[in-house]
């Protein structure tokens, strides 16, 4: 295989990795504040695309505005989901909450089908369908958008976490929820905000990809699982690790297509997921903690 071809695969891996990173960030943020794996995370990705298409094609809004509407609406859906389905379960039992998110995932995808129909829908590229050449390899301009938006999201998140009081509250909750409550942090608000942010990140990913791949009511679960694999690969609960996990997973997938075959491409993420769970459950970048009684 030539160097250019390899670079081509690497660029594709980077682009997919950025998407996985955004979805993984959503998992990580919710996990950090609640200890819950949010199985509805993939549906936020789906909604981001679907709602943007709706705003653009059905409402006739200009694309940038439609994109903002798509992401914001999904964020609100995320927060409302938390308020209606997560918060009422008072004991916060993680297994119960996980099961609730499984149910939520069904309801969200089904609602999207009721509202927007069963067909695939598309969005135009943000700035033309052209490609740029990087050392001979072609990269779609839309992919540059994806990478840029991911970088922007990570930077904003970094700012939120390190420079705002809300971010500090979120970090405190991640370390120890009870202690955070004791020092006067409104942990319930943190949980709602976490779902809102997670939904926005997922929606951003879904929005950015739709011009390349189209979208439909049922795309959520498969992307959700990959984002989840990325979060686990990095180390659940740590945002930087989630981004790293996403990029590594994207690369692994691309390289497996390049060197093995594309038949089992979708299984790669899952095999990675199982291997990490079995051999390094704290993730590549996580530290192993001593269990306490």
């Amino acid at each position: 295989m030539g160097g250019v071809e390899l670079l081509q695969f690497a660029l594709a891996g980077l682009k997919n990795g950025a998407i996985y990173a955004l979805v993984a960030l959503g998992f990580t943020i919710v996990y950090a504040s609640t200890g819950v794996i949010n199985f509805a995370q993939g549906e936020f990705y789906m909604l981001g695309g679907m709602l943007s298409v709706w705003a653009y094609a059905d409402l006739g809004l200009p694309l940038p505005l439609a994109a903002v509407v798509g992401v914001m609406t999904t964020a609100v859906v995320g927060a409302v989901f938390e308020l209606l389905a997560i918060r009422p379960r008072k004991d916060g039992n993680p297994l119960a909450l996980i099961i609730i998110t499984v149910g939520g995932s069904m309801v969200l995808s089904s609602s999207a089908r009721h509202l927007f129909g069963p067909l695939e829908r598309a969005l135009p590229s943000f700035s033309g369908t052209g490609t740029v050449s990087i050392l001979g390899a072609a990269l779609e301009i839309q992919s540059i958008w994806i990478l840029g938006l991911t970088a922007l999201a990570v930077a904003s998140l970094w700012y939120l976490y390190n420079r705002t009081s809300l971010g500090r509250a979120m970090r405190a909750c991640a370390v120890d929820r009870n202690a955070a409550r004791l020092v006067g942090i409104d942990t319930r608000r943190v949980v709602t905000v976490s779902f809102l942010l997670a939904a926005a990140l997922g929606a951003l990913a879904g929005l950015a990809v739709t011009p390349l791949t189209q979208t439909a009511f049922n795309v959520g679960p498969s992307v959700g699982i990959k984002g989840f694999a990325a979060a686990i690969l990095g180390g659940l609960g740590n945002p930087i690790a989630a981004v790293a996990g996403g990029l590594v997973l994207g690369m692994l997938e691309s390289m497996s297509i390049a060197f093995i075959s594309s038949t089992y491409k979708d299984a790669i993420a899952l095999i990675v997921l199982l291997s990490v769970l079995f051999w390094r459950p704290q993730g590549l970048f996580g530290r192993s903690g001593r269990e306490k009684v």
């Binding site: 995932s105 069904m106 995808s109 609602s111 989840f228």
Partner: protein, 332 residues
């Protein structure tokens, strides 16, 4: 006190016998293939849910990949019967052995860890198997699936009619339920409920909580495998969509609605939720458009059921039945 218990036993026995008679007698009341088919399918789900009930309702673990075990059982049995010419019972044994082994390999590493790694591992396993079912064409027939799978038969006994396969499936369901009921009313069942109540307390009683969870998972996986070996031959056709994540989630909905520390609850839930898309089989005058509306909204029904049960009645139908049985005012 004593008399009350005896009365309850009598009521339970009468109810139980009525249900058994009704289940066994269904083919005498209707000869319509469609209705028998639907209830046969419900019986298959009852077998799977019996294992899920042990896993979720007793051992407090959740699997998001049980449809995959169901599928492994179905494909394995179909393969050895159609390709290798084995008798059906051989297919059943292969299905059980494969799913039990798979369950063990999946459960051992993930149950050693705290938290909910089993849910994630089973989810990944289910998706891997979905890819395998679609891509391993020589064994599975790819996306189109396998058809022409012969009816189950035991020696000279061929279950080649709708009513015969109905009886076979429900007889097997009855046996699995009986085994499970024996299990939960014994030392092993107590250990399961104990670890659900308090893992620390259970460990202090000398209960190897990981060992128990692994065993329960293996049992539940092999029940699903057994159900697969029945389903493939009774229906005669299998394809990947029958064993998707979607079906795994439906099974979770049945287990959740069925409730904790109960076998009866999950059985009722499995039958109810199985019937939803086939409501016309139980509601005679149901119009075509009403049925389509129900089918259109079934996902929402399943999803909302899961959420509502987890929030408003975490004990599920089982908890409800217990409350009626003991006259306790509220569940703690």
């Amino acid at each position: 006190m004593r008399e009350r218990i005896d009365m309850r036993l009598v009521v339970a026995a009468v109810l139980g016998l009525t249900v058994v008679a009704a289940v066994a007698g269904l083919p005498f009341f209707t000869s319509e293939r469609y209705i028998l088919r639907v209830f046969t399918f419900a019986g298959v789900n009852v077998i799977i849910i019996t294992g899920m009930a042990l896993l979720f309702g007793y051992a407090g673990q959740v699997s998001l990949g049980h449809a995959a075990f169901f599928g492994v059982g179905a494909y394995a049995s179909a393969f050895v019967v159609t390709q290798l010419g084995w008798p059906w019972i051989g297919g059943v044994i292969v299905a059980i052995v494969l799913t039990a082994t798979g369950g063990l390999l999946l459960a051992l590493p993930s149950l050693r860890l705290k938290g909910h790694y089993l849910a994630m591992a089973t989810l990944a396993f289910g998706e891997i198997m979905r890819v395998v079912f679609t891509e391993a064409r020589t064994v599975t027939g790819g996306p189109d699936g396998l058809s022409g799978i012969p009816y189950p038969s035991l020696g000279p006994l061929a279950f080649d009619s709708a009513s015969a396969s109905y009886w076979l499936v429900w007889a097997v369901a009855g046996i699995t339920l009986l085994l499970a009921a024996n299990l939960v009313r014994s030392r092993a069942g107590r250990a399961m409920r104990a670890l659900h109540g308090s893992e620390l307390g259970a460990t202090a009683c000398g209960i190897d909580i990981t060992g128990i969870k692994v065993r329960v998972f293996v049992i539940s996986a092999s029940f699903a495998g057994l159900a697969g070996a029945l389903y493939a031959h009774v229906v005669g056709f299998i394809s990947p969509s029958t064993f998707s994540l979607h079906v795994s989630v439906l099974l979770v909905a049945m287990a959740v609605l069925g409730g904790t520390s109960s076998l009866l609850g999950p059985v009722i839930a499995a039958v109810l939720l199985t019937l939803i898309p086939f409501s016309d089989a139980v509601i005679p005058g149901l119009s075509r458009s009403a049925l389509e509306t129900i089918q259109e909204w079934q996902e929402d029904i399943y999803g909302l059921t899961i959420i509502a049960v987890m929030i408003f009645m975490p004990g599920g139908i089982g908890g409800l039945l217990r409350r009626i049985g003991t006259g306790r005012s509220a569940e703690r």
